[in-house]
Amino acid sequence: MDKSNVKGFLEFVYDFYRSMKAHEITLVYEGEITHQITKAFTSLTESNMAKESESNSVQKKVFHVMVECLQNISKHADSFGSDDFLFAGRGIFMVSKGKNDYHVTTGNVIENDKIEELTEMLDHINSLDKDGLKDLYKNQMKEGRLSEKGGAGLGFIDIARKTNNKLDFHFLPIDEGSSFFLLTSSISRIA
């Protein structure tokens, strides 16, 4: 980097910092999601929430949602070509804290041919009420099998149940084979 580039870069860092503040982002990460990362992020967020005297029930819900979101990426994120910068198990992970809600957001690359199935599943979860979600969870626990990667197909259902909110999701096209899958979950801070 020559001098003017360094300045441009540092200005970018400041803009980045300001936009994090503006969006009340308390944690942002891009890269491989491992078990160690999951543990580090959950314990960091836990201790922050404890310091800020967040209620036990909110702390537990945020913890639940974070674990399930992080495990979703580590188990399901697809690789993005062979020579590219994104690989399987990678993604972006973000926690933001507003006045009324926490938001946990994930983004990862998926193959386009999985969009339909994923959309159907998420729409179905969003169409259910509390009892419907409970039945779906119980059913999936009974009938479902653990995948090779240890997924039980329960993560999204659990997030919907714990948050009492709809799952907000979006697919942005990357190329003809893949898309970026974004999901955000809100946890109310108000009991």
Binding site: H64, E68, K134, M141, L146, G150, A152, K162
Partner: protein, 126 residues
Amino acid sequence: MEVIKIKGTDDTPTVILDKENGIFEISGRSLPEDVTTFYEPILSWLDDYQEEANAKTVFSFKLVYFNTASSKLILDILMKLEDMHENGKEILIKWFFPEDDEDMQEAGEEYADIVDVPFEQVSYNF
């Protein structure tokens, strides 16, 4: 029978399976990196125990957190206990939950709905 004693960590539960002293307990947090590997020895221990179970088995769950992958394995454990119950053994599941933790209480209620085995909910203060 061999005794299983696993000391809990911040992502794996404490497990005690001791036929001789009649202690059967899983407690703490469960979000192991690999749920199958963690729970496999517990499930196979229960298979062996099934062959020579005590007249009465009280199995306690005292979990403060478990992830969805673990929830499936917990059901597998409960189903083995259900088998023993069906084969005429006296089984009691004790599901402990912190008194302010509705989600953990509800999780217990759901398991009690799924498996046909005597199930007792116990709230505690911590």
